[in-house]
């Protein structure tokens, strides 16, 4: 770029730019004047709403299950369903999603079954992650959803790398990475955006600005006008969108995907929303925010807004709503009962997948562990359960009292 010289000092703060919030649907579910309906056919609209509703119900039931002590931990997506599902719906189903941890709606949209959710939540023998990670750390290779990692923001530069690989593969796919406004403070966020811009990578950075990082409000997270202006520093396309407006999220992401895939340019999307639930089942928001504040956002519930729009279009009915809610609740409860009864993963899942092959040193440690568990089977009910199937060998019994 050509250097422009000025001969008087002038300091800029960024306040010179103001980034509007793209919104299509009002909280009443009506189109704002001047807004266009995005190209969204009935079937996809219903698929989006169904995923949002299913996510809401799964979250309600599983938080209740956690409170009953049936589950060790849970995290809700409540209030952010439009942001997560709307963005996912605008992608190709084979595009990669690299999420933070509060984006179960994306998996729901792509068809992760309630049974698959439950197996992870209960860490049973059918959990793809083999019972190694805390609840909500889902992953699905067939649904192009990278397994969740708890450390914040680590997935953001990985998304840049994954998408670079997709560009090289030339099949027209991109990666979308979700993260919160808190995670955007991590160094990884900045590294990711810079590299994506420098290397012309088809990646969409989707920030769920939900107002809080656990207890820390956005005003203590950054001094600027949200996350969106950071894109300027990397010369990146950016749009801010009403995250509780599913049509706006869908359309913004749809166009972002075109920029990413057709022009090999990264895009930053900042979705303005609100974490209606606690950070997690371990958190109590009453220590850091008011009920009034929560109520003000409850009125802007993204589900209600989409439902009103669908009803007005005749694409959904009150009867369907009641029926679907009942069906989903029944499915969640029934599936949970089956999942919590399943066996834990086998004992050898302790040592598999550390490397492609178990190292001899680790195998020795494991053999020692098995001898120990055989000596004290009652102390290790889970481990002993799968050992029962093993044949006792002479070496195993050596040295036993």
């Amino acid at each position: 770029m050509m250097t422009q010289y000025a001969h008087q000092p002038a300091f800029l703060t960024g306040d010179e730019f103001s980034i509007p919030t793209f919104s299509v649907l009002s909280p009443d579910g009506e189109l704002y004047s001047g807004a266009d309906t995005p190209p969204l056919e009935q079937a996809r609209a219903r698929r989006i709403y169904h995923a949002m509703l299913a996510t809401r119900i799964l979250d309600e039931r599983m938080l209740a299950a956690q409170r009953q002590g049936r589950l060790s931990f849970y995290m809700q997506c409540t209030g952010e369903e439009a942001a997560v599902v709307g963005a996912t719906a605008a992608l190709d189903d084979a595009d990669m999603i690299m999420a933070q941890y509060r984006e179960q709606g994306a998996l729901m949209y792509r068809g992760f079954s309630i049974d698959e959710f439950m197996n992870q939540l209960f860490g049973n023998e059918l959990d793809y992650g083999k019972g190694r990670q805390m609840p909500i750390h889902y992953g699905s290779r067939k649904l192009h959803y990278m397994t969740i990692s708890s450390p914040l923001a680590t997935q953001i530069p990985q998304a840049t790398g994954y998408a670079y690989g997709q560009k090289m593969a030339g099949k027209g796919h991109c990666t979308l990475t979700f993260f919160g406004e808190g995670a955007a403070s991590e160094g990884d966020f900045h590294a990711a955006l810079n590299m994506a811009s420098v290397h012309h990578v088809p990646v969409i950075f989707f920030c769920r600005n939900n107002g809080y990082a656990i207890s820390t409000p956005a005003v203590e997270q950054f001094a600027a006008d949200g996350i969106a202006p950071r894109a300027f520093g990397y010369r990146m396309h950016v749009i801010r969108v009403d995250g509780n407006d599913v049509l706006a999220v869908y359309e913004a992401t749809r166009q972002a995907r075109e920029i990413a895939v057709e022009r090999n340019q990264p895009v930053l999307i900042e979705a303005m929303t609100y974490r209606l639930a606690a950070h997690s089942s371990s958190d109590d928001p009453s220590g850091y925010r008011s009920k009034d504040e929560e109520e003000a956002w409850r009125i802007k519930d993204p589900l209600l807004r989409m439902q009103k729009w669908l009803l007005a279009k005749g694409w959904w009915s009150e009867e369907e709503e009641t029926r679907e809610q009942e069906t989903l609740r029944r499915e969640v409860l029934g599936t949970m009962k089956r999942a919590e009864k399943r066996s834990p993963p086998p004992l050898d899942s302790l040592i598999s997948d550390v490397y492609a092959d178990v190292t001899p040193a680790l195998q020795r440690q494991f053999d020692q562990l098995k001898r120990h568990i055989r000596r004290y089977p009652d102390a290790y009910p889970r481990g002993a359960q799968s050992l029962d199937l093993d044949v006792r060998t002479d070496t195993d019994t050596q040295g036993e009292a």
Binding site: S150, E186, G187, I214, S215, D283, G287, P345, H372, G383
Partner: protein, 325 residues
């Protein structure tokens, strides 16, 4: 004497340090009005104001980089990393900066005022990323001090010592004991020495060495061993860097046997350092190989956490094997 749990003892130590010295500044993710996700910094913002106890943005490398600068300026930062599992973005700041500040400047500058507090360890169904014991990454770093308390009394005295120590200290808090460990803690100011182990139980047959939450587990194993007539000496290292080899060597010269236990994986774990040093110093007195009872060489699991952990039964078996060698 008041009874406190470990969180209350830590909170009390921070309160005393902040009241005594206005240069003491506490910060980290959620430590402000919320008092930290475990509430270790409860009411400190109320008492000392937002300038001395505050939330930071969510950026560990920023927190420690900021803390290094603040300490170099002469303030006394007490930085919290929310979980030890999340300390790694700050690894560069800690290993390349905190630890080398004094040395590289020829003592023109130092960050001796810095204390980094962070909860570590498993046994809370935390899985891979809320359970790790990363002490050995840091004990391999000259210039740092690494301290781990085992109970509320130790936590208060060691934390006050860490804050006032002329060198930067990584203070690892056993989070499983935050509320579970309750004990008498004097209300007044006191310090416990950094770099000195404590013999928590004297014995003649075998020496057990551990630190932090593992001391409780060792205690249970020792009860089982004593029922079988094995007389155990138990040592809490308290400080891993520097560590008190003299106390351990002296004990092993007496017992001839050593069992070391930690939750972190075996390979590269701090037990290896202890074993190497003690065999150098006690070679002719050893009656059996030095035993290490540790986590497996795997990431920290969730559902099979119990199987992974070096529990009292595994330690008890190691004691028996050591004695019957």
């Amino acid at each position: 004497m008041p009874t406190m749990n470990m969180l209350q003892a830590i909170n009390n130590a921070l309160d005393i340090a902040m009241a005594e010295d206005e240069k003491v500044i506490c910060f980290g993710e959620d430590v402000g009005i919320f008092g930290g996700v475990f509430r270790a910094t409860s009411h400190l913002q109320e008492k000392y104001g937002k300038a001395r106890c505050f939330n930071t943005p969510l950026v560990e490398q920023g927190i420690i980089g900021f803390a290094n600068g603040l300490a170099a300026q002469g303030s006394v930062p007490v930085a919290e990393i929310q979980f030890a599992d999340y300390i790694f973005p700050a690894f560069d700041q800690i290993v390349n900066e905190t630890a080398k500040f004094r040395y590289r400047s020829g003592d023109l500058f130092n960050v001796g005022g810095l204390t980094i507090r962070t909860p570590y360890g498993g046994g809370i169904a935390g899985g891979l990323y809320h359970s790790q014991s990363p002490e050995a990454y840091f004990t391999h770093t000259p210039g740092l001090k690494v301290v781990v308390p085992r109970n509320p009394y130790q936590a208060k005295g060691l934390l006050l010592a860490a804050i006032r120590d002329p060198d930067p200290v990584l203070f690892l808090e056993p989070k499983r004991l935050y509320r579970a460990a309750v004990g008498d803690v004097p209300e007044e100011d006191y310090q416990l020495p950094i770099g000195e182990a404590e013999i928590t139980k004297e014995g003649t047959d075998v020496t057990l060495v551990g630190w932090g939450a593992q001391m409780e587990v060792i205690g249970k194993a020792v009860e089982l061993a004593e029922e079988q007539g094995i007389n155990c000496e138990v040592i809490d290292l308290r400080s891993l860097l520097p560590w008190d080899a003299d106390t351990v060597a002296e004990s092993v010269l007496k017992t001839g046997r050593l069992v070391v236990s930690h939750e972190a994986p075996l390979t590269g774990g701090f037990a290896g350092e202890i074993a190497a040093t003690i065999q150098e110093r006690c070679f002719l007195y050893l009656e059996s190989p030095i035993a290490r009872v540790t986590g497996l060489d795997t990431p920290f699991p969730l559902v099979l956490e119990k199987e992974y952990l070096p529990d009292h039964l595994k330690i008890f078996e190691a004691i028996r094997e050591s004695v019957n060698f």
